[in-house]
């Protein structure tokens, strides 16, 4: 009996994984089939990179001799946060088109719908990040951290984006409408992104804003990424960032799953 049960559990797990793989593939195909989606998710951050490097950069005093070295770790985090908005938009689209109803009537793992979407967006984020780093290197980004530390930084950013995808998923499943998901997804992200250490050292902000920016998950993550990429001391940033990531993941995956069940 115990053996049969473990066999069934094993098969269940295999099916769950196969469902997640199928849904992830389906989520990625849209980027291959809709190249403009991928183009826009890379052009916009590249424009930001150029804008801040050449237009604003000269006016921003940082700890780095060259602003671009300060900027790139931050802008990579910004990309995955903006990218995560797509998770909720995609889910809202599936909902409004009736696709989720079809999926919910199938004998598939229910978790696979959300996992597939968030994993697909994770893969897309990694791709965009690699492309961005290449562009940054061309225009003068010179990281002094070790290769291992840079790779670790990329994975830290990807995990951060993955956690934000679940926030976005919870929003998308709550608003159930593509346009609203788009707006609702960005509204809370914008102030968080700018009130952080992504573009400027937070010490230059008024003290009330600095206090807010200091504890922001974005600031600690950007600081950790910056330290890893530039080979400066990590301080408390890495573990604080990991605590945020795990906390956001647990809370918002539960919230998103709950919203999914309530549809």
């Amino acid at each position: 009996m115990a053996e049969t049960n473990s066999h069934i559990a094993e098969q269940g797990l295999r099916w769950t994984i196969s469902d997640i793989v199928a849904m992830t593939w389906r989520g990625l195909v849209r980027y291959i089939r809709l190249p403009q989606l991928l183009v826009f998710s890379t052009i916009q951050p590249i424009l930001f990179l150029l804008l801040f490097t050449y237009v604003f950069g000269g006016a921003i005093q940082t700890t780095q001799d060259h602003y671009i070295n300060f900027l790139v770790p931050g802008i990579l985090v910004q990309i995955v946060i903006f990218g995560s908005v797509q998770t909720g938009v995609g889910l809202a689209e599936d909902l409004s088109k009736g696709l989720i109803d079809r999926l919910r009537s199938l004998p598939m793992a229910r978790s696979a719908v959300l996992m597939g979407r968030t994993l697909a967006d994770l893969v897309r984020n990694l791709f965009v990040m690699v492309l961005m780093i290449a562009v940054a290197l061309i225009i003068g980004f010179r990281p002094s951290g070790s290769i291992g530390a840079i790779v670790a930084a990329v994975f830290l950013i990807a995990s951060f984006g993955f956690a934000f995808s679940w926030v976005s998923a919870a929003i998308g499943l709550s608003v159930k409408n593509v346009e609203t998901a788009q707006v609702a997804g960005f509204i809370w992200v914008f102030p968080l992104v700018f009130a952080s250490s992504i573009f400027v050292p937070i010490e230059t902000m008024p003290s009330w804003l600095e206090a807010f920016a200091k504890i922001s998950p974005i600031t600690v993550t950007v600081n950790a990424v910056r330290a890893l990429m530039l080979g400066t001391p990590l301080g408390d940033n890495l573990w604080q960032s990991l605590v945020w990531i795990i906390g956001i993941l647990i809370d918002f995956s539960m919230l998103a799953v709950w919203r999914y069940r309530k549809i």
Partner: protein, 311 residues
């Protein structure tokens, strides 16, 4: 699993949204291998019922057994035995037709080779082979619908739920889909179909349940419903259209109605032969010349309108 060939058993199903009773104490059985038509206007509770039977929605009260399994106690067993094509064509526009079918096949946990084989077969049956490798976003409305219904069949379900499958389709696409649905019964699939179109229920369904405001108001075969519920209708065609008014005034007591376009006066025959003879006698006495007089069974539309009280 099923007893006496009953594949869906519904008892006292209820569902409310706030103060609106979407379903009120609905009970019926569906026999294996039939096409059941759930007919009703918007808001009759058809979609709510389908959503409960396909495990998408929990009822407030009552039970539903689908393919021998309780939808509440064992939803995953139900899901592996049903197919659903909902009100919207639920296809992924960024995949090709073939990829859509294979994806759903994978999610039914079919071995890859079988999923591919069935996808190919369904593409042929639903006349989609030419478009099989094109992105679904290039499909016409009719093609999307056919792909949607085909997707719901890839798991070879025992029961197929079709929620208003032809809403929004042009007459030709509608006909193509009807032919495909009729073909399903030959493989033994039970079909539960909701529709607002009487013509559709009349053509496809072996058994029709008419719903209105969350309740069943009548059921039976199309023939039963027409003969038991609708009154026979007398159509009086006059030679001279000026005389239409004369006829209606003359027969006022019999509640005549006039269709100006075709110059016909119709009268429901509520009291049998005696009434018929009385009408003819009065017309003759008045000396109105008739082009034609015809006694016919009511259409399903007339039955429907009588039952739901909508004009």
């Amino acid at each position: 699993m099923e007893n006496n060939g009953i594949i869906i058993q519904i008892r006292n199903l209820s569902k409310s949204y706030g103060k609106v009773h979407a379903l009120e104490n609905v009970s019926f059985d569906v026999k294996k291998g039939v096409i059941l038509g759930l007919l009703g206007p918007n808001g009759a509770g058809k979609t709510t019922l389908v959503n409960i039977l396909t495990t998408l929605l929990r009822p407030d009260g009552g039970t539903a057994m689908v393919s021998g399994f309780d939808v509440l106690a064992n939803p995953s067993a139900v899901r592996s035995r049903i197919g659903l094509a909902g009100q919207f064509a639920a296809i992924d526009e960024n995949l090709t037709g073939r990829e859509n079918l294979e994806l759903v096949g994978t999610l039914y946990h079919l071995p890859r080779a079988i999923a591919k084989k069935r996808a190919q077969k369904l593409l042929e049956e639903f006349s989609l082979t030419d478009a099989a490798n094109r992105l679904a976003k290039t499909y016409s409305g009719g093609m999307r619908r056919r792909l949607d219904v085909a997707s719901s069949l890839i798991g070879e379900p025992e029961i197929l739920f079709l929620d208003e499958p032809t809403t929004g389709l042009d007459p030709q696409s509608r006909n193509e889909l009807w032919t495909a649905i009729e073909g399903l019964v030959n493989r033994g699939t039970t079909v539960l179909l909701t529709t607002q179109y009487l013509e559709e229920a009349d053509r496809l369904a072996d058994h029709i349940i008419i719903m209105n405001e969350g309740k069943i108001v009548a059921q039976g075969t199309a023939k039963d419903l027409k003969s038991n519920l609708g009154k026979s209708v007398l159509e009086v065609h006059v030679k001279d259209r000026q005389k239409i008014t004369t006829i209606t005034t003359l027969l006022k007591q019999f509640d005549p109605s006039v269709n100006e376009a075709v110059e016909v006066v119709t009268i429901p025959i509520t009291m049998g032969t005696q009434m018929l003879l009385e009408i003819i006698r009065q017309v003759e006495l008045a000396g109105v010349e008739l082009a034609d007089i015809e006694l016919r069974k009511p259409t399903l539309d007339e039955v429907f309108l009588t039952l739901t009280g909508k004009k």
